[in-house]
């Protein structure tokens, strides 16, 4: 009853092409942004900020990146972890090598470096497709991790192989990385970057680039026949996707954990991000966020669940249970809604249009 577009007539193509054509959606999004930017930093405690919201933001960004490649361009990739590592180590080398460089520039530049690496590993996509490509992207995963593990130059010869984010500030003295940064400061920094990059991603997928990616995804031969160059389309998808994933990796190392070793980006990480976009919804920016939220919250819920029911189980068993429940949930989700949470959200909105009337 409240969620209705009846009476909202669009009088220009601009209004019809907007991201949120319906008034209620615009109000909702404005409200959400207000809460995220103003209310949360004031209200949320440190636990919420650093163990839930920060990883959620980082994962969301990585999921958006992978969704651009897999959900929009149809190129399945299992190398996400490797690309995140690439972003993290690039950010480390840049910020320690050029201390005067602004942290925002560092973040974006490490994204660009990852994009270049992504294009390199995307080259096989011109010849091979589907699962063959997926397996080929594992080459990126294993090679990049080996590289960062093997060559001490990447960690500035740190004996433990761990890199720690140097303290950096924006606007002079607002620290967003390093020990001086407050959780709220880190959160705001991450939120701003993620919100802007997500907006840019949404713009891309509704413009020429996005349409050429989707055309390649849906039918590559037909796409080529209407004039899309497969080379440009696929490699641009790899570049943009890797850029996002690289920035996410840099944020992981600098803003979320503060210090990290290459092992944090093993193949499990790749699968984790893949789960997010599948559960959230392939080919949906909103879905990337929903999937990231789900996958971030699930383990926290699972590890707390035994306490809630007053059971005491060994840590080992809990982790095995986590595996089982995780696996079962994924299968369950795929069976119930293969198009992910984003579709459920859409269905809920459809229902809401009529509510509380039956039809």
């Amino acid at each position: 009853m409240f969620y209705r577009e009846a009476g909202q007539f669009k009088t220009s193509y601009a209004a019809d092409q907007a991201i949120f054509p319906i008034l209620q959606d615009r109000i909702f999004v404005a409200f959400l942004l207000l809460v995220a930017f103003v209310v949360v930093p004031v209200v949320a405690n440190e636990y919420w900020l650093s163990t839930i919201l920060l990883p959620f933001l980082v994962f969301s960004l990585a999921a958006v990146g992978l969704n651009l490649l897999t959900g929009y361009c149809g190129q399945l990739s299992l190398g996400t972890g490797g690309f995140m590592a690439c972003g993290a180590f690039a950010a480390y080398k840049l910020s320690t090598g050029f201390p005067e460089l602004n942290i925002v520039v560092v973040m974006l530049a490490s994204g660009v470096i990852t994009a270049l690496v992504g294009v390199l590993f995307g080259l096989p996509s011109l010849r091979i497709k589907g699962f063959y490509l997926a397996v080929a992207t594992l080459a990126a995963q294993f090679f990049l991790l080996w590289l960062f593990n093997k060559f001490a130059w990447f960690t500035n010869y740190s004996p433990s192989g761990v890199i720690s984010a140097p303290p950096r500030a924006v606007f002079g003295d607002f620290f967003v990385t390093g020990p001086q940064a407050t959780p709220a400061g880190k959160y705001l920094f991450a939120l701003t970057l993620v919100a802007l990059l997500a907006l840019a991603a949404k713009n891309m997928v509704r413009c020429r680039v996005g349409r050429s990616w989707m055309a390649i995804r849906d039918m590559d031969i037909a796409a080529e026949i209407i004039g899309i160059r497969p080379l440009t389309a696929k490699l641009s998808a790899f570049a943009v996707s890797s850029f996002y994933i690289g920035v996410a990796g840099a944020m992981w190392a600098f803003v979320y954990t503060g210090s990290v070793e290459a092992l944090a980006f093993q193949i499990d990480r790749s699968f984790q991000i893949l789960f997010m976009i599948i559960i959230g919804g392939l080919g949906s920016i909103l879905g990337s966020f929903l999937g990231a939220a789900f996958i971030t919250l699930l383990p926290i819920f699972l590890s707390n669940a035994p306490n809630i029911f007053g059971l005491s189980i060994s840590v080992d068993t809990v982790s095995h249970f986590e595996f089982m429940i995780f696996g079962a949930l994924i299968v369950f989700f795929l069976i119930v809604e293969p198009h992910g949470l984003a579709r459920l959200w859409q269905i809920a909105k459809e229902k809401l249009r009529l509510w509380p009337f039956p039809y």
Binding site: L76, L123, P124, R127, I128, G130, F131, Y132, V135, A136, L138, A139, F142, F143, L145, W146, N149, K150, F151, I221, A222, I225, I267, F271, L274, F275, I278, L282, D316, T317, H320, F321, E322, F323, M324, I325, F326, G327, A328, L329, I330, V331, L334, I335, P338
Partner: protein, 308 residues
């Protein structure tokens, strides 16, 4: 530079016996990859599902077997019981996962098998525990000297087993009624159903066979490394074997395994030092990827003619 472009070749030509030893060791290790790859190929051929859970199935089979032996069962009984468990697993997977997901796109089924993989990893370790166990089924382990070359008797045994397995599978596929039905299903699900081939039975059979192949691989890997979680990671090495050999070719899985196995051993021993070592981690993938750039259909795939 010379450490990379010259020294390895000098080494190879100065110590041919050592090279041969590394090569044979690699070939036989490759057979072990082939064993895992075979399971992937079987399922991909018959249902078009890229079964990521094959590695987890290997671990699960090995865990079950070793668990039963530890409980005091004789080896033969434990093996029979494990086969029964794998068949039950195949039936449950068909009923719980595959049947509701029929006609979904391949990527959804692939994701579902990742879910199965996670589930099996957790399930197996919950039941049987996660400490490293030794598996002893009486495979000889002492090395064998042939001329100047040292060969592991165990690896030789693994090679023979793989050979027998492939021969049995080939006969099964080519000569039996079920095999013919399998090939029909692999070609076209709907056409196969329309001539009265029961799709579900076929899937159960194929997943059972893959389960048994997983058990064989589990016995081999378990005897070699001990039964532990890292078997799942070793199973990932079967993936470059697959892309090299082609997803649907049984001989491809064998030859691919030999190439990857020997390639990575030779590369590790002779080129590894120049690159800082542990290049085994990625060498197989890189080799497979570069190979695909020149022959996208894999070793044994047919050239694809695209139509519109």
């Amino acid at each position: 530079m010379s450490a990379f472009f010259i020294d390895p070749f000098v080494d190879i030509f100065s110590y041919p016996a050592f090279f041969l030893e590394v090569l044979i060791g690699g070939l036989l290790a490759g057979v072990m990859y082939s064993l895992v790859a075979l399971g992937f190929v079987l399922i991909f051929k018959a249902s078009g599902v890229f079964n990521f859970a094959q590695g987890a199935m290997v671990l699960f089979a090995a865990l079950t077997l070793v668990g039963l032996i530890d409980l005091g069962a004789p080896v033969w009984l434990a093996i029979v019981a494990t086969i029964a468990v794998m068949v039950t697993l195949a039936m449950s997977i068909e009923k719980v996962v595959l049947r509701p997901l029929v006609n979904q796109p391949a990527i959804i089924l692939f994701m579902a098998t990742i879910g199965i993989s996670y589930f099996l990893d957790g399930f197996g370790q919950t039941i049987w525990g996660s400490e490293i166990k030794t598996l002893e089924v009486g495979i000889p382990k002492s090395p064998l000297m042939v001329g100047e070359v040292l060969i592991s008797r165990f690896d030789l045994f693994a090679g023979l087993t793989a050979g027998v397995l492939v021969a049995v599978l080939a006969i099964f596929f080519q000569k039996t009624r079920v095999g013919r039905a399998l090939r029909a299903v692999a070609d076209d699900h709907q056409a196969a159903m329309s001539v009265g081939i029961p799709l579900r039975t076929i899937w159960v059979i194929v997943w059972s066979v893959a389960g048994i192949v997983a058990l064989v691989a589990g016995i081999m890997w378990g005897s070699k490394l001990g039964v532990q979680f890292s078997i799942v990671l070793v199973a990932l090495k079967a993936l470059p074997v697959l892309i090299l050999g082609g997803f649907t070719s049984i001989p491809g899985a064998i030859v691919g395994g030999l190439i990857i196995g020997s390639g990575e051993k030779v590369a590790e021993v002779f080129w590894g030092p120049a690159l800082g070592g542990a290049i085994e981690d990625w060498f197989g993938y890189m080799l497979a990827m570069l190979f695909l750039l020149f022959r996208p259909q894999g070793l044994f795939g047919e050239k694809i003619i695209e139509r519109v």
